[in-house]
């Protein structure tokens, strides 16, 4: 026998399984109340503001909410005139958010959602009985038709009616009809036309949603359902939503086989047409707004993806090049500096992993405020914005002024590099504006601008894919002002000026022990198909319509408790914590706050809660492939999104929650404190452990890049590992098949 002897394990394991199976029911039933946020950046408040208990979404005043209740009551009594008069009063003077109809009922799928009052009214109207609809049309058809005619005249000006000059105005008018007069006799026509306009603008997601609304929500419509469904199919194909499309195609084949529809001027068979639709890749489909995190995670930022059937495999434990910026124990030395400061020090350097971004053949790293660029082909440092020693010598200032080393974000795009930085010396002098968002020329490293006048910027810009260096390209950041209002700001990437701002609400922060001000959890942003999603990491997520510059809806979620009183004396260890999860995949938003035990799946278009599931507080979603989400906390796990069952789990020796693993076809790479783990994404088996050339690091952020050939056919693929002390490149090999043969670990 050439295997180890294993004693007693099996019988005991059966016992454990039985006990846990029994315990499982109890734990799943058990409720939990968790609210709060993670620790983030300091904002100095000039005066003590009112502190909300959790993230406070601006709510409509009680007058508006009362009117909405009145509306529902009048509808129930069939007092239509009173109902619609009340409704009009709400529409003309409504600010803030309101719960959905029946929102007080905590069991529904609308639980936790908040909407603008106008959308809330639309939701109420959809459920009117036939008698109510007739009454509604009696009162509102005239106004709706006037707007509808305006759109028609806009397309063919004349008769003294002012023409609508631009497509956006047409969309706005159509949207007004759909939002306010959806139930009128022309509501479905307006929805259909709005879908066309949005589709032409490339906003496929909203177009599909509007068409879906016309099909499913508009009663007694005039439009041919087959055509609307075919249009939905086209939009879903363009969005790359394979499974959603497949389901709809089946419905169209069953319901409309043999029916002719006119698409693009040609008459086609509805069933045959949808059957022939091919799905765009998700990456191609997400052309409008894709955050840099997603871009880099897919290796898109710098390069090309492997062809279908091929997979990038790390096969050598030898580095191609390495840029060492710091000795390996530098973080420990900085930690030692702050350890001597006495009580209540809550700043930890060990475990911090610098953020990085890729663009073209370059890598940009933000080493706690010192930004540097590396040439991915040669492995040479191209430029840097300062000396690293300026940071290492100021460790105590970080602690004194509550500067968290984890939170120096960076992103790149439009020929620039955007970095969150902080100058503790300005805090020491009592100057304002110590926290800055700085832009540098990606080529030279020269300073381009510093964002001013928008409060403290909490996130690096989320730069939509395809944004060029021309004027007008915007990125999205989350800021907090002196009045503690959190806002989403669309930032002109060329000038650093705010193009527009949407107020999101007020987060709950915690007092900074030393330097004053407030510490906030770090929000997350992602953007897709015309909507910017902001997870406040403080108990709320908000969806912002980027074309209308307004909050479309908000969702309240579990979050961790906030330490509002920080009178403690013991030095505290670093808490293992991962960033907030916010990912949009196929129309579903996956959300989880840092250190909160609940993962949510939200249908972004309805919007509605698809499901929520308890997962370990320290876990985050690192990638989604098909119907499997991969989670990383103390373990790497696979979660089946259909059954919500944990498929497998693998213990990875992670020393920090700030890792950036890669989920590739057949492989998951995790830069742990014991090397780069190559894990089979199918079953969690560890295929190989690459100890690498940076062995003292706590962990790293990984990037796949293609260098030396813009077409992807030439050049090389590299795995880049960014740690606290170095940047190291390893060669990747493109292989066919799903996974590499498993060498002995």
């Amino acid at each position: 026998m050439s295997c180890a002897r294993i004693r007693k394990g099996r019988r005991r394991w059966r016992f454990v399984s039985t006990v846990l199976a029994a315990a499982g029911g109890v734990v799943q039933i058990g409720g939990i109340v968790v609210v709060g946020n993670g620790v983030g950046r300091v904002v100095r408040a000039e005066e003590e503001p009112e502190v909300p208990t959790v993230f406070a979404v601006p709510m409509a005043d009680t007058k508006t909410i009362d009117k909405l209740d009145d509306f529902d009551r009048y509808v129930n009594k069939k007092a239509w005139e009173l109902a619609f008069r009340t409704m009009n009063a709400v529409e003309s003077d409504s600010k803030g958010m309101v719960p959905p109809p029946g929102g007080a009922n905590e069991s529904g799928k609308g639980k936790g959602f908040l909407f603008p009052a106008t959308l809330r009214i639309k939701q109420s109207l959809i459920h009117l009985p036939a008698e109510g609809r007739d009454a509604y049309r009696l009162f509102n058809d005239a106004a709706a038709k006037a707007l509808w005619e305006k759109v028609g005249k806009g397309r063919s000006p004349g008769d003294g009616v002012p023409a609508i000059p631009t497509a956006s105005d047409e969309a706005a008018t159509l949207r007004k009809i759909v939002n306010q007069y959806f139930l009128t006799s022309i509501g479905d026509l307006a929805a259909d036309r709005l879908g066309d306009v949005l589709f032409e603008q490339g906003n496929f997601a909203e177009a599909a949603a509007v068409w879906q609304s016309a099909v499913e929500e508009y009663p007694d419509g005039h439009l041919p359902m087959a055509k609307l469904q075919v249009k939905r199919c086209v939009a879903l194909a363009r969005l790359g939503r394979k499974e959603e499309l497949a389901g709809l195609v089946v419905s169209v084949k069953q319901a409309y086989a043999g029916q002719k529809v006119t698409i693009g001027g040609a008459e086609v068979d509805a069933a045959e047409f949808v059957a022939g639709l091919s799905v765009d890749s998700a990456d191609d489909a997400a052309t409008q707004l894709t955050p840099p995190a997603t871009m880099a995670a897919n290796g898109v930022a710098a390069t090309s993806e492997p062809a279908a059937g091929q997979v990038d495999v790390l096969s050598k434990d030898e580095s191609l090049w390495q840029i060492r910026v710091m000795r390996s124990n530098a973080m420990a030395a900085m930690e030692q500096q702050v350890a001597g400061m006495g009580w209540a020090v809550d700043i930890h350097f060990v475990g911090a992993v610098p953020t990085a971004a890729t663009a073209g053949d370059r890598l940009f790293v933000n080493w706690m405020g010192v930004v540097y660029a590396a040439d991915l082909q040669t492995g040479k440092m191209l430029w840097r914005t300062g000396k690293f020693s300026e940071i290492t010598q100021r460790a105590t200032m970080f602690a004194q002024y509550g500067v968290n080393p984890d939170h120096f974000g960076i992103s790149a795009g439009a020929g620039k590099v955007f970095a969150l930085r902080v100058d503790p010396t300005r805090m020491q002098r009592g100057d304002g504006g110590a926290y800055t968002l700085d832009a540098f020329d990606a080529e030279t490293g020269k300073s381009a601008w510093t964002a001013n006048g928008m409060g403290t910027v909490l996130t690096e810009p989320c730069v939509p894919e395809g944004v060029s260096g021309s004027e007008g390209g915007v990125g999205y950041v989350v800021t907090v002002g002196n009045d503690q209002t959190m806002s989403l700001v669309a930032l002109n990437l060329q000038t650093g000026k705010s193009e527009w701002t949407v107020q999101l609400g007020k987060p709950q922060g915690q007092q900074n022990n030393y330097g004053g001000g407030m510490l906030y959890g770090l929000p997350a942003i992602t953007a897709s198909n015309g909507t910017v999603y902001v997870a406040t990491n403080n108990g709320a997520m908000l969806a912002v319509n980027a074309s209308e510059h307004r909050v479309a809806w908000a969702f309240k979620n579990d979050t961790k408790p906030v330490a509002t009183e920080r009178m403690y004396w013991n030095p505290t260890p670093r808490v293992f914590e991962t960033p907030a999860t916010l990912r949009e995949e196929g129309g579903v938003v996956y959300l989880k706050d840092s250190s909160a035990p609940t993962l949510y799946a939200i249908d972004a278009e309805s919007p509605a809660l698809k499901w929520r599931r308890r997962i370990a507080p320290e876990e985050m979603v690192i990638g989604i492939r098909g119907q499997v989400a991969y989670l990383l906390g103390q373990d790497l796990s696979a979660l089946d999104l259909n059954s919500r069952q944990l498929l497998w789990s693998t213990r990875i020796p992670v020393g920090t929650g700030l890792l950036r693993p890669l989920v590739e076809e057949g492989h998951i790479y995790v830069a742990s404190q014991r090397g780069i783990y190559d894990v089979d994404s199918g079953n969690g088996d560890v295929l190989h452990i690459f100890r690498g050339s940076d062995r003292e690091a706590t962990g790293g952020r990984l990037y796949v890049v293609h260098v030396g050939g813009a077409d992807g056919a030439t050049g090389n693929d590299e795995l880049i590992c960014v740690t606290d002390s170095a940047v190291t490149a390893y060669p990747l090999e493109r292989k066919s098949g799903q996974s590499a043969p498993p060498p002995a670990p």
Partner: protein
């Protein structure tokens, strides 16, 4: 009546016993003899544990099951028939998440907290026939086991200190994770006893010679010091001392020879 008679007999017997013991003590020579025997450790034992925890108990099940499966597979992958994993059973507890711990450490009130379920199994990874390996090979093998176990998800030894105060409590050192054992003590014990008896006899003989009496036969032997412990065995190796019940063998934390030391209290008769 019968009871009173029985009590009187018992009292008389006890008095006679005490008197007899006193007489014997006066008639004998009592000495303590020490004996040592040295042997190479034959087993290397690594303290390890496997855990799986989750918000849902079913998640803890999957995590623990997979952790165990992968960990045992990795050890088996070493293809060394002398390596075995001995489980010491599982415990199921409510694990406290890091943030709750932090808040408690700060003296803050914790509302509810999360209810993670943790399954923990304490194990011993045992390398047998360690005495057959050359020192360098033994070291390489042990370190290879350590690396493999860590890579495979075993928690080796106790947790590392997370704060200065925890470090102080641990004396500034980590816990011992590798122990060197000699589980079979029959031969060693015989040598040590033999040496202890010889030592006792030599001491008694010296006393007899000095006092001009003749050393007689052994009247009694008590293992350990005379004071009150029936058995006290000190196990030594290198510069450290570890003790545990003798029947489980002897253990040290360095790879050098292990020494079994026996103390006997021996009463010799003074021959007439």
């Amino acid at each position: 009546m019968k009871f009173r008679a029985w009590m009187m007999v018992m009292a008389a017997a006890m008095a006679l016993t005490l008197w007899g013991a006193a007489v014997r003590a006066e008639e004998g020579i009592t000495v303590q003899g020490g004996g040592e025997a040295t042997g190479k450790p034959t087993e290397v034992e690594i303290t390890a544990s496997l855990t799986g925890d989750g918000e849902l108990a079913t998640d803890a099940t999957v995590k623990f099951r997979d952790a165990k499966k992968r960990a045992l597979a990795a050890i088996a992958g070493l293809k060394n028939p002398d390596i075995s994993v001995v489980t010491q059973g599982v415990s199921i507890t409510n694990a406290m998440d890091a943030n709750t711990q932090m808040m408690l450490m700060r003296g803050q009130a914790v509302q509810g907290g999360t209810q993670k379920v943790q399954v923990r199994e304490n194990d011993r990874i045992v390398l047998a026939h360690a005495d057959k390996l050359e020192p360098d090979v033994l070291l390489d093998t042990v370190l290879k086991i350590l690396d493999t176990a860590k890579d495979a998800g075993f928690q080796i030894g106790g947790p590392m200190p997370t704060s200065y105060y925890e470090m102080q409590q641990m004396g500034g050192q980590g816990s011992t994770i590798v122990a060197f054992r000699l589980p079979e003590l029959d031969a060693l014990r015989e040598q040590a006893y033999k040496a202890a008896v010889a030592d006792a006899r030599a001491k008694a003989q010296r006393i007899a010679d000095l006092t001009g009496v003749k050393l007689g036969r052994i009247l009694s032997v008590t293992e350990g010091e005379k004071v009150n412990s029936a058995s006290r065995v000190v196990v030594m190796n290198g510069n450290s001392v570890m003790s545990e019940p003798l029947e489980k063998g002897i253990t040290g934390n360095t790879s050098g020879d292990l020494t079994l030391r026996v103390n006997l209290t021996v009463l010799f008769e003074i021959a007439k």
